[in-house]
Amino acid sequence: MIESFLIKATVAGIGVAIISGVIGCFVVWRKMAYFGDSLAHSALLGVALGLVLGINTNLGTFIICSIFAILLIWLQQKKILATDTLLGILAHSALSIGMVTLSLLERSVDLHSYLFGDILAVTYFEIYLILFGGLIVLIFIYLNWSSFVLVTINEKLAKAEGLSILANQLLIMLLMTIVVAVSFRIVGLLLITSLLIIPAATARLLANSPEFMAIISSLLGIFAVIIGIYGSLYLDTPSGPSIVVSAVIIFITVSFISSCYKKN
């Protein structure tokens, strides 16, 4: 029985890296980095909801994040406040309400593991959740790929050609919600945006088509997760931040190499 926790962590990490790599491309293309961050902040309220109601915290997170996304789209339609203002209000109120609720609970909660992740403590149930949620995300993205890409390139053109902007926007946001809900135990709520953005941004330097960018992004994510997990074991560092640090190192290395390559 050597290191079964390590195998579990690796499987969970690879699952998360694949889906966050793909959905991360849309975050980069659609400039939704702040949205991802806000979604993750609001997830803490989801954790609180899960603990209060005695339901699974991933489910609580999914419910709260979905409400968050729908609320945001509804407020956006009103066009009174800018999106980043709305996100700021929603995210920080959800984070604060979540913190207040958690502190009112009579049991102690390992807040640190929610904020920064604890991949080495991942359970079988969480692994199934990642694989199941990930499969749903990948299927939806595969089926709607061209529509998503067209809507992302130009909404007016997509609309004129018969696509529903609202439906596509909502679907992308809900898929992102699933990604956050199944993967926040891996890198933590505070770092989840980095797993969405950094591999995708690195892939942008290497890819020449949207499909290729999504694939490379997932592969780089897997690479970062594996280095991060084993690095954290070897150096005895927290796993979530270690994964992000390896993603950043990959990003810097690729940027450096590709800028050298372009000069020649």
């Binding site: 293309w29 890409v149 067209l150 390139i153 007016k156 004129a160 890819a207 020449n208």
Partner: protein
């Protein structure tokens, strides 16, 4: 000539402001109509109403059965964060054969740039690519929203010449919003001047003399249009003496 699309008594208001008031417009086969009007006059909204992507408050749109519309949006500005080639962009959500792609590429003169990144195109190249995409669905009607807005004079002229060639060779109808009236005068058959309602419409030279047109655009624009008409009526041989 049979009608392709017709708007009857369109009214649209948003946030208490009237955007379109009792607008009637009829686009027939082989029409070439240019809509002009000041900023915020409701031009883009009218185009979107015709395409069925904007909710009307009242009025109706009557379309010919199976009408195929090609559309070029305003301010198309692809972001460099997504790497996508021109060829892949043309193929998104479209069904056509390789031969059709080849024909349209030659028609719009973009065969050379098919493998270029969409975000790296010049303004003139980008408009040609959009035109190619709109032609790939073999439209009966092209709707263009300020297609040459961000182009320099040379590219504007090239674009309008290309559009004119396509209009003549394909025998389709064109409905366009444009401020470059001096450029499109030669090809446009009808000008519609819109300021929430239709102020005046007709042949370019008639519109230029309309008092409502002059009050909206001022005398300079009206003069510019009539000057163009004037030069169009005689030859320029003696200018080179």
């Amino acid at each position: 000539m049979s009608s392709l699309i017709q708007a009857k008594d369109l009214c649209v208001s948003r946030q208490g402001k009237n955007i379109l008031e009792n607008v009637f417009i009829n686009i027939k086969e082989k029409d070439f109509i240019t809509i002009i009007g000041p900023n915020g006059a409701g031009k883009s909204v009218l185009l979107e109403c015709l395409m069925g992507t904007f909710m009307l408050d009242s009025g109706e749109i009557i379309k010919k059965n199976n009408l195929s519309i090609g559309y070029i949006p305003q301010n198309f500005n692809p972001d460099n964060s997504m790497p996508i080639s021109v060829r892949r962009f043309l193929m998104l959500k479209k069904k056509f054969t390789l031969e059709e792609l080849q024909n349209v590429s030659e028609e719009t003169n973009i065969s050379e740039i098919l493998s270029k990144n969409l975000a790296n195109l010049s303004g003139g190249e980008l408009q040609k690519v959009l035109l190619a995409r709109s032609l790939l669905s073999s439209p009966d009607l092209l709707i263009l929203d300020e297609p040459a807005q961000n182009l320099d004079i040379k590219n504007q002229l090239n674009f309008y010449n290309l559009l004119d060639r396509i209009y003549k060779s394909r025998e389709i109808s064109i409905l366009m919003v444009s401020h470059d009236l001096h450029m499109v005068m030669a090809s446009t058959k009808q000008v519609v001047c819109l300021y929430h309602h239709i102020c005046c419409s007709g042949e370019p030279q008639t519109v230029a003399k309309d008092p409502e047109f002059i009050s909206l655009f001022g005398n300079d624009m009206a003069k510019m249009m009539s000057v163009y008409q004037h030069t169009h009526n005689h030859s320029h041989e003696n200018l080179n003496d």
